[in-house]
Symmetry: C2
Subunit: 336 residues, 2 copies
C-alpha cells in the first residue's frame, strides 16, 4: 500500500478501501471463506444449535505488556462463546480506524489477531472497516462477534449454581488490568506483569470432558471476579463464599493493587475462567484445568452456599468475613 | 436511571453498567434469549448452513432525515446477511458510547433499533457496551453482527454473473447519502429527501421465490452502485453495461448531486438491492421486487456482457458510452 497512514478514503467504499483490504487485511486473514469477499460469509454448521457473542475493544494503549488490542479482540470473544460450552468456529471483525493511524500499527494488530485466531482454532470469515476523522477515535477500535457450535445436551447457565457447588478459577487474578495500567501515562511504576489475554476454549473443553456436570463458565473481565460472582449469585439466587487465601494472585499484582488502591477482585482479567462445578466433580475439574493450556495455576477458591441469596462473601486470611462488592463507579477505564 | 448523561462508569463492568443495561437496553431489547444475560446467546439453527455478516456504523450526524444510526445498524446488517439468500435471524449489538452522551439520545437510538429489528423479524440476542472518554468518539458507534439460516441449494455469489444476465436495482439511488449530507454542518441546502434505510430481507425472499436462478444480490452502500457493479464485474470476470436513463433517481437527489459535484452512482444507499438475474427470469424478478416492501420503483438497469472483463460502462442519455468508475479518494465520509 502506498499510504503509510490511514486516510478517510480508506473507509469510503472506493479504490483505497479495496487496496487496504487486499493489501493489509487479506494477507493475514487468508481464510478461503473470507477471500470470497461476499457481503455475508456462508458457513457450515453441523449441530442444531449455535452460540453467539460480541465485544467491542477500546483498550488504551493499543499495545501493552504481553499483548495488544488484536489479541484481546480475538481471545475475549472466543472466551465468551466458549463459556456456553460451544466450540468457537467463526468470527467477524469490525474496525473503526482513526484517520492518521500508522498503517504499520494496524499491520501489527492484524498479525496479532491472525496468530491468536490460529491458536484458538477459529476462522475470521467476514469483516468491515470504517474510518473516522482524526481526533474522533483512539487509533483503533475493534469489534469481534463469534459463533460456535453447541453439542447436544450441553446446557450451561449462570442461573444453574446450587448450594454445595464449588467455585474454581483457572489462574492468577488481575494480571491484565495491571499490565495495561502500568503503561498508562502518568503512572510511574514498573512490573514484569504481562496481560493474561489467551484463548480458553481448549481449557473449557477439557473441563467439560472431565466434569460434565459443570454448571457454568464465566470469564471475569471488566469488573473482575467480583462482578462475575455477584452476577452468578444473583442469577442463581444463591450466596457464594470465597476463601481469600485460596485465590491465586501474582505478588507484583498484589503490590500494584496496594499501591494504586485497587481491589484485586475488581481488576479485569482477559485469560481467566471461573467455573462452578458440583462438589463431587470439583477435583476432576481442577485437574482438567491444570492440565490444559493456561490453567497451571488453577485453584478451587470457594463454595456456593444457601443463606443470603445474591450475596458474595470473602473469608479473609484472618478468619473474618466481608462482602465482595461489585465495582461502584469507575476504576480502570478503557481496560478492554 | 439517575444519570442523564453517559459516564465512564457505565462501561466499567460494575453497578452503573448493570443499571444501564437493565434500565435502558433491556426495556427495548426484550428478547427472552438476551434477557438470560449469559456471556453468549445459545440459538437454534435448523439448517446445516448459516450466513454471517458484520458492519460498524459511525454515521455523522446520529440523527438525519428519515432515520438514525440505530435504524441503519439493524437494516445494514440484515441486508448484508440477506444478500446471501439466507433468512436473517439473530443479531449482536456492540456499542461504543462517548462519555457525556445524553441518555435520551441513546434511548431514541435503541427504540429505533428495536423497531427496525421487529420490522425485519430479527432477534437481538447478545450485546456489549464500552464507554470512551469525552472527545474520543462521536456520541455513539454501533457494531452489529448478524446470523441467518441458509436453505438447502441456495448458492448465490458475486462471481456467478454471466454474459446475457440482466441487472436490476430495487429503487431510487442516492437518497441515503443526500439525506445525511443535507444535515451536515456548513452545507446550506434543503431537500425533502429522506434516507432509504430499510430491511430488504422480504424483498430478497420474494425475488428468490420468483426468480430462483438469481446469481447474486448486493446492497450498494458505501461507494454506491459504482463500487457494487465494479466488484461484481471483477469477481465474475465479465463486463456490465448500465443504461443511464433506466436508473431510478429522485429529482431532488439529482439536483443535489449536480450542486455538490457528486456522481449519483457513487452515492451511498442503505435500502436498495442490486440483483443479477438470468435474462429469462428478469421480468419475474422485477415483478417480485415491485410487489415487495420498498421495491415499488425497481427497474432493470443494465446487462452483463462479455468483452472487457472487470469493466463497468454507462450508456448515457445521448447514446455515448463511458466507464462507471469506482470512487477514487473520499466523497462523503462517515455516511454509514
Amino acid at each position: 500500500m502506498r499510504d503509510d497512514k490511514i486516510l478517510l478514503a480508506h473507509g469510503s467504499g472506493g479504490v483505497k478501501m479495496r487496496d487496504l483490504i487486499e493489501e493489509v487485511f487479506l494477507g493475514q486473514f487468508d481464510d478461503e471463506i473470507l477471500l470470497r469477499l461476499e457481503d455475508a460469509a456462508t458457513l457450515p454448521i453441523e449441530s442444531g444449535r449455535i452460540a453467539m457473542s460480541t465485544d467491542t475493544y477500546t483498550v488504551s494503549p493499543l499495545f501493552f505488556p504481553g499483548g495488544d488490542i488484536g489479541r484481546l479482540a480475538i481471545c475475549g470473544t472466543v472466551n465468551d462463546v466458549a463459556t456456553s460450552g460451544a466450540t468457537p468456529l467463526y468470527m467477524s471483525v469490525g474496525f473503526v480506524l482513526e484517520e492518521g493511524l500508522p498503517v504499520d500499527d494496524l499491520k501489527r494488530i492484524i498479525v496479532s489477531m491472525a496468530e491468536s485466531a490460529h491458536e484458538a482454532g477459529v476462522r475470521i470469515v467476514t469483516g468491515d472497516t470504517k474510518v473516522v476523522d482524526r481526533g474522533h477515535g483512539d487509533g483503533v477500535y475493534v469489534n469481534t462477534a463469534g459463533v460456535g457450535e453447541l453439542a447436544d445436551g450441553v446446557e450451561l447457565s449462570g442461573s444453574a449454581c446450587r448450594p454445595g457447588d464449588r467455585v474454581l478459577v483457572s489462574g492468577t487474578l488481575g494480571d491484565h488490568g495491571i499490565a495495561v495500567v502500568s503503561k498508562r501515562e502518568g503512572l510511574s511504576f514498573e512490573t514484569d506483569i504481562v496481560t493474561d489475554a489467551a484463548p480458553l476454549n481448549a481449557l473449557i473443553a477439557a473441563v467439560l470432558g472431565s466434569a460434565p456436570g459443570v454448571r457454568c463458565f464465566r470469564d471475569p473481565t471488566r469488573g473482575g471476579l467480583a462482578s462475575t460472582l455477584n452476577e452468578l449469585a444473583s442469577a442463581s439466587g444463591v450466596a457464594i463464599e470465597v476463601d481469600e487465601t485460596a485465590v491465586p494472585v501474582n505478588e507484583q499484582v498484589r503490590g500494584a493493587c496496594e499501591m494504586l488502591g485497587y481491589d484485586v477482585f475488581q481488576v479485569a482479567n482477559e485469560g481467566k475462567m471461573v467455573a462452578v462445578v458440583p462438589a463431587e466433580q470439583a477435583d476432576a475439574a481442577l485437574a482438567a484445568m491444570r492440565g490444559a493450556p493456561y490453567g497451571e495455576r488453577a485453584a478451587i477458591i470457594g463454595d456456593v452456599t444457601d443463606p443470603a441469596p445474591g450475596k458474595v462473601y470473602v473469608r479473609t486470611e484472618f478468619g473474618a468475613r466481608r462482602i465482595m462488592d461489585m465495582l461502584v463507579g469507575e476504576q480502570l477505564p478503557r481496560i478492554c
